[in-house]
């Protein structure tokens, strides 16, 4: 018989997790989407510095520059790399500023919806029974209407303005978060550490806050990224339909609709480039969300 090494029971396996995480993070698809995402956010944050011109400064914008093709020089000497629109605004600058509006609307509505959904989902998952049934029926009703329809009706009621769009988008989205959190919360609620906590005499709100919330939140991280992309496109649709953000603060959607009148007369760039940007943004966020799902899933260890 060979020599036997007797190990004690407390063999610990630390360090390997962070290694796997790092390896997952450095895969090409993750890095590319992450890079693109950073670029987009960077552009949006520093729009006023990065943009060649300020498209909303009426002193600079001249009607004489209208509908220049990509690469032409404007009156003040700057080159309009992506052309100009019907009012003589530089499309590149408009996109960079529009990106900012789009992201602000999408992210803030996602955050509001997440908090509301988290609250409802945790309550429903923790208490179960009638409370759960009641809340989930509201969620069902909410989800049975097409998101765009609900948003349209809400905006018709609320009126125009960025804040109104954010509220409308949050109302459209909270139900998805609520349902996801509830599912996670029900699984956690039946685990013994929750029972141990109630054995200690902790109040329900404390149990929800300290024990249930931290353990139910991880599926939301992925959902929130994907939903942000979703709300960018809903917002773009609303703006395209003319009920979205006000004309003074155009988003990618309103830029697309702005150029729609000229698309048949050959000035494709006014619509095309904002559309391309919208596609790139949504795709980057979606791919990143997908990668995040793989990274956070402990079962995929490749």
């Amino acid at each position: 018989m060979s020599e036997i090494k007797f190990i004690s029971e407390n063999k610990i396996n630390i360090g390997t997790n962070s290694k796997i995480l790092l390896r997952k993070f450095t895969r090409p698809s993750t890095l590319i989407s992450l890079g693109l995402l950073f670029l987009i956010i960077f552009c949006a944050l520093f729009a006023s510095i990065l943009a060649p011109t300020n498209p909303y400064d009426l002193k600079v914008v001249s009607i004489l520059d209208s509908r220049l093709s990509p690469g032409d020089k404007m009156l003040n000497g700057t080159v309009a790399w992506l052309g100009t629109d019907g009012a003589g605004r530089d499309v590149l600058s408009a996109i960079i500023f529009g990106l900012r509006t789009s992201l602000v609307v999408a992210i803030s509505s996602a955050v509001i919806a997440l908090i509301a959904g988290l609250f409802v989902g945790l309550i429903a998952g923790f208490y179960g029974g009638k409370i759960d049934a009641f809340l989930m029926r509201i969620v069902d009703i909410q989800l049975s209407f097409p998101a765009i329809l609900v948003a349209l009706v809400l905006l018709a009621l609320l009126g125009k303005g960025i804040d109104k769009v954010i509220i409308a988008l949050a109302i459209v989205q909270w139900a998805i978060y609520a349902r996801t959190v509830r599912a996670a919360a029900i699984v956690e609620r039946n685990k013994e550490y929750i029972q141990a906590a109630s054995c200690l005499g902790l109040s329900n709100s404390l149990i929800i806050w300290k024990h249930l919330l931290p353990n139910s939140i991880s599926p939301l991280i992925v959902l929130a990224t994907l939903q942000t992309a979703h709300s960018i496109s809903i917002e773009a649709t609303l703006s395209f339909l003319g009920v979205g953000v006000p004309i003074t603060e155009p988003s990618l959607g309103s830029l697309i609709s702005n150029g729609f009148d000229f698309i048949l007369s050959g000035a494709y760039w006014i619509t095309f480039f904002p559309g391309l940007m919208l596609l790139a943004t949504v795709a980057a966020i979606n791919i990143f969300g997908d990668q995040l799902r793989i990274i956070l899933n402990p079962r995929v260890n490749r």
């Binding site: 036997i4 004690s8 407390n10 685990k191 141990a196 906590a197 054995c199 200690l200 931290p214 353990n215």
Partner: protein
């Protein structure tokens, strides 16, 4: 005819390689098996016993690989054999029985079709003779009315019946060797003994070679002819069951056998089990007079810690708007008992007997339907005064079965144990909390260095120690242990049971101990209640329950305990 060397494993080495580490799961293992013989492979989790079973039939999970060694079955080396050739052996020459009968049967096929399919796969016969053979097989594994049962689906069978079907399936190809991996672990004790009896008789009747892989020494004692003890990938001892179990040679075997709770006599502690978790000694006793745990411990005068009268609890199995269409399960049916202060009271019963429900009712985790529960003479059922209830419930703390889900994975050990202290404000400042927490950890046999770790960095036994420390942190007077060791290895179980005994001694705790495992109950409890289907059959002192059982069900349970002492 006895084939001398039906299976011969020679110098088998298996390793699992990953980026982080290489695990030598099996090292230099040699085993021989003759036909008509039952060989038991016993060991604790991680010993490599299942890996050997899988390696024999080439079912090693990636990244496992056989580094060297031979598996010679009927003169053929199975190592390195290609999949096609292996398929003619697996299922036909070698049958397999797995742990969970729930998952090893296809839920959407009738038992009959599954049997016929397997028979036709192994033999070249038509449907009618396959059908006849299937019914014969079902009959031979002790299923009544085989013709009728052929049409049933797996969910229409109980766990034990399902395992019989799995055995019938493994016999379908008329194999020479059966590998049974924990065949009775998921079953109740009464079913377990029937299944073991069946495997044993089939082995003798059909001249099969059987390898039983198990963690349970009681199973080995019941069924095996020879036993191989494994530890950490290597064989430490092989021999006749009688010889190995009654006069073990190796230190590991000795401590493993010492750790198995005995059902014949009550020992004060488990002795000589320091082999495995050797470094978890508690270095001092708790003296209640000057210890934090004893502070303000207002001694209750009542002699009865818990008094339960006519307790009832129903669960709705099938809901319906019409009341008469609802189907209820009476989980607890008119149960009454008293637990005296400082006593260890056991509740024993098979799964579904309602014993865990009682624990949860007393701990206030689920609502009582009717009846009364008094904790130190304080009624807690339907008591409008919330303060009184919370105060009483605080005296009762629970230790749960599954150490992997009973600790919040996102909290540090320090915060987990400090939670009740902070909540009840029983410490004056943060430094004192840390001091108390590390002292408690020390008393459950863990070190101060563990304070900042997360639960996933610990083994099952260590997590259970943390759970115990958390329960103690609210200064309970009653500890409810709901199957506290049933998911732990036997040596770890012995350590945890010793710890609970010590703590009870030192703190004068009252204990309600719930288990399906009679020997564990025997070691832990002063008095025992035997439960069946929501009713209490018998309450008596442990000595009387085990030596002079009155109720027929108790007698049956006692007679079914697998005993090491009764090796044939």
């Amino acid at each position: 005819m006895v084939i001398k060397n039906l299976l011969e494993i020679d110098d088998l080495n298996i390793r699992f390689m990953s980026d982080q580490e290489t695990v030598n799961a099996v090292r230099d293992v040699s085993i021989t098996l003759s036909s008509g013989e039952v060989l038991g492979i016993v060991g604790e989790s991680g010993a490599g016993k299942s890996t050997i079973g899988n390696a024999i039939v080439n079912l090693l999970d990636a990244p496992g690989e056989i580094v060297k060694g031979k598996v010679i079955f009927e003169g053929q080396n199975l190592v390195g054999m290609d999949d096609k050739a292996m398929r003619t052996i697996r299922g036909k020459k070698i049958g397999m029985i797995f742990q969970d009968p729930q998952t090893s049967l296809n839920p959407i096929m009738t038992i009959g079709n599954q049997l016929i399919e397997t028979i036709r796969f192994t033999k070249d016969i038509d449907d009618v003779s396959a059908y006849n053979e299937a019914t014969e097989l079902l009959e031979s594994v002790g299923i009544d009315n085989p013709k009728l049962r052929m049409k049933s689906y797996p969910h229409q069978f109980s766990g034990g019946m399902r395992q019989r079907v799995v055995i019938a399936l493994s016999l379908a190809g008329n194999p020479d060797l059966i590998i049974a991996d924990e065949p009775t672990t998921a079953l109740d004790v009464s079913v377990q003994s029937q299944i073991l009896e069946l495997i044993k008789s089939l082995c003798k009747k059909r001249r099969l070679g059987v390898i039983i892989i198990t963690h349970d020494i009681g199973v080995i004692a019941n069924i095996a002819d020879r036993v191989t003890v494994m530890y950490n990938g290597s064989i430490v001892e092989t021999g006749l069951v009688r010889q190995v179990l009654l006069s073990p040679k190796h230190d590991y075997t000795k401590s493993l056998i010492a750790a198995v709770p005995r059902s014949d006599i009550k020992l004060k502690r488990f002795q000589s089990i320091d082999f495995i978790e050797g470094n978890t000694h508690r270095n001092k006793r708790i003296n209640l007079d000057n210890h934090w745990l004893g502070e303000k411990l207002n001694q209750k005068k009542s002699a009865k810690a818990i008094s339960v009268i006519d307790l009832n609890k129903e669960f709705i199995l099938k809901n319906s708007i019409l009341f008469k269409n609802r189907i209820y399960l009476k989980a607890v049916n008119n149960v009454s008992f008293d637990i005296n202060k400082g006593e260890s009271f056991g509740i024993v019963g098979e799964s579904g007997s309602g014993k865990s429900t009682i624990a949860r009712l007393i701990a206030g985790l689920i609502k009582v339907d009717t009846g009364s529960i008094k904790i130190f003479d304080q009624e807690v059922v339907n008591n409008k005064n919330r303060g009184e209830v919370i105060n009483s419930q605080r005296d009762v703390q629970m230790i749960f079965q599954d150490p992997y889900s009973s600790l919040n994975p996102r909290m540090k050990v320090q915060d987990i144990i400090a939670e009740p202290i902070k909540f009840y404000k029983t410490a004056s400042d943060d430094n004192m909390i840390i001091e108390i927490v590390s002292d408690l950890l020390n008393h459950v046999g863990m070190s101060k260095a563990d304070l900042l770790k997360y639960p996933n960095q610990f083994s099952g036994g260590q997590r259970q120690r943390i759970s115990i420390a958390r329960a103690l942190a609210s200064r309970p007077k009653i500890l409810i242990c709901d199957e506290p060791t049933s998911s732990l290895d036997v040596s770890v179980q012995a350590h945890i049971l010793n710890l609970l005994k010590d703590l009870q001694d030192e703190l004068g705790l009252t204990m309600l101990f719930i288990s399906h495992d009679l020997p564990v109950i025997r070691q832990m409890c002063d008095r025992v209640a035997v439960m069946r289907k929501g009713n209490i059959c018998e309450i008596n002192t442990t000595e009387n329950i085990f030596n002079k059982p009155k109720h027929s069900y108790t007698k049956e349970l006692i007679s079914l305990i697998p005993k090491i002492e009764s090796v044939n």
